[in-house]
């Protein structure tokens, strides 16, 4: 782990969590914009939660800078640098969600305007993640410059999107249960996690073939890296089994909220392990 990359792990994951929640919010809003029926008070204004998360992620990202005072200059090379593009798209995303919040809660506006702003915010969030993944697609870093990097970044967003739906189904009351049917959601989540398992195995196999590149190779076939890979896979497999159990018993029993929350938290934790492994896998060609 290179110095201060913890801040980048948290920045990327919290940003992706925010985008996942935003996309889920957009999805449900277009299905049924009547949010006032939600039983969760904070969810009546998910924009505030997203703004808080994005702001927190932005602040954490400053921790990896040697001279944070110069941070405003980081958008200067918009034409050439993907970091500049990422920061700019983050700023646009933040502003668009703030405007959305104003339109919904402070200056009540026509529904078409709210929907338009929601579409703009969602597009900005996708561009933000697209820019973020490009930062790591570097010709001189073969372990990052693969198709697994964009897959990993976008699949994190998709996982957070599905987990947010899952959480709302559990916590959001009758209104949400009418919008989000539990059984199809569980099936989608199971399929998604199984795809993640297969991709994880392919990625591990791909990285294992890279051990002879560069002078400062890390080992992808032994030690901590393999240990973390195994933990991640075990979490995914156990989650799939548990979801199968939920699927088979969803009509017979009341779902236990604690168990659902635990599942969500442990799936977020395995994303954290995955991102840690991603930064661990850094090595470049040359010296």
């Amino acid at each position: 782990m290179h110095n201060n990359e913890w801040s980048l792990i948290f920045f990327t994951l919290i940003s992706q969590l925010s985008v996942g929640i935003l996309l889920m919010f957009s999805f449900v809003f277009f299905v049924n914009p009547n949010y006032n029926e939600s039983q969760i008070i904070w969810w009546k204004s998910p924009e505030l939660l997203i703004l808080l998360l994005l702001g927190f992620a932005g602040l954490i990202s400053l921790l990896h800078l040697g001279r944070p005072i110069n941070a405003p200059k980081s958008v200067s090379n918009f034409a050439g640098s993907w970091i500049s593009k990422e920061i700019l798209s983050l700023i646009i995303l933040f502003i668009s969600i703030f405007v959305l919040y104003m339109l919904r809660w402070i200056l009540p506006s026509p529904m078409w305007l709210v929907k338009l702003m929601l579409i703009i915010s969602s597009l900005a969030s996708v561009i933000f993640i697209y820019s973020m993944k490009h930062i790591y697609m570097i010709e001189t870093i073969p372990s990052w410059n693969t198709r697994f990097t964009p897959l990993s970044f976008f699949s994190s967003v998709l996982l957070f999107f599905l987990l947010a739906l899952f959480l709302m189904n559990d916590q959001g009351g009758v209104f949400w249960r009418n919008i989000i049917q539990l059984k199809p959601l569980i099936i989608i989540l199971i399929i998604f996690l199984m795809i993640q398992i297969v991709l994880g195995v392919f990625q591990q196999s791909y990285l294992s073939g890279m051990e002879k590149l560069g002078i400062e190779n890390i080992s992808f076939t032994k030690g901590m890296y393999v240990g973390l890979f195994c933990i991640k896979m075990i979490i995914l497999i156990v989650s799939v089994i548990y979801l199968f159990y939920l699927y088979l018993n969803s009509e017979k029993m009341d779902l236990n909220s604690m168990a659902i929350m635990s599942l969500i938290l442990i799936l977020i934790f395995q994303e954290f392990i995955g991102r840690f492994m991603f930064y661990q896998s850094y090595f470049r060609i040359g010296v």
Partner: protein, 207 residues
Amino acid sequence: MKRLAFYFDSSKCSGCKTCQIACKDKNDLPLGVNWRRVYEVTGGDWIRENNAWISDVYAYNVSLSCNHCEDPICLNNCPTNAITKREDGIVQIDADVCIGCKYCAWVCPYGAPQFNETIGVMTKCDLCADYVDEGKNPTCVDSCPMRAFDFGDYDELKEKYGEEAHAYPLPKPEVTEPNILIKPHKSAERAANENPEVSNMEEIKHA
């Protein structure tokens, strides 16, 4: 635009690291920051022939700093435009603009940009720009007791020494088009196939 370049004869280099020390001294670099580094490549083994063990080992050195590339990957990716290229081809970092994100260090295949903890920004070889402006050579070039270096215009150096393949452990020059001409050590070709270790990595990182 001019192309100022280094020439380095790996077959002459004894690995004494005078170039590294001269650079460190001239630029007053702190612990852990080495704008010029000497990589000690060591490989091979002992081979048994009947009752005798015969040495089949090899070792050579590669002295590297920033190569002031024609297509500098650090400059292209710097989010603040802190890295610029002068008319004479010198690639330099403006400490007043740098945010110290270390992205240039991630991407450079020569390990040229290095983070200076004391001032919180990236730093790198500037070809001793003050010396160059006075018509002198960079300090590493003149300090070498083996005369393994030369310095000047890329095309003139190419005419003088010819152009040979970049030796292990350097990346393919097509990636960034570095302004360095290298005469590889005789064992470099073998090393390229065997990927031997660089035996002084700890020293390179922490000296």
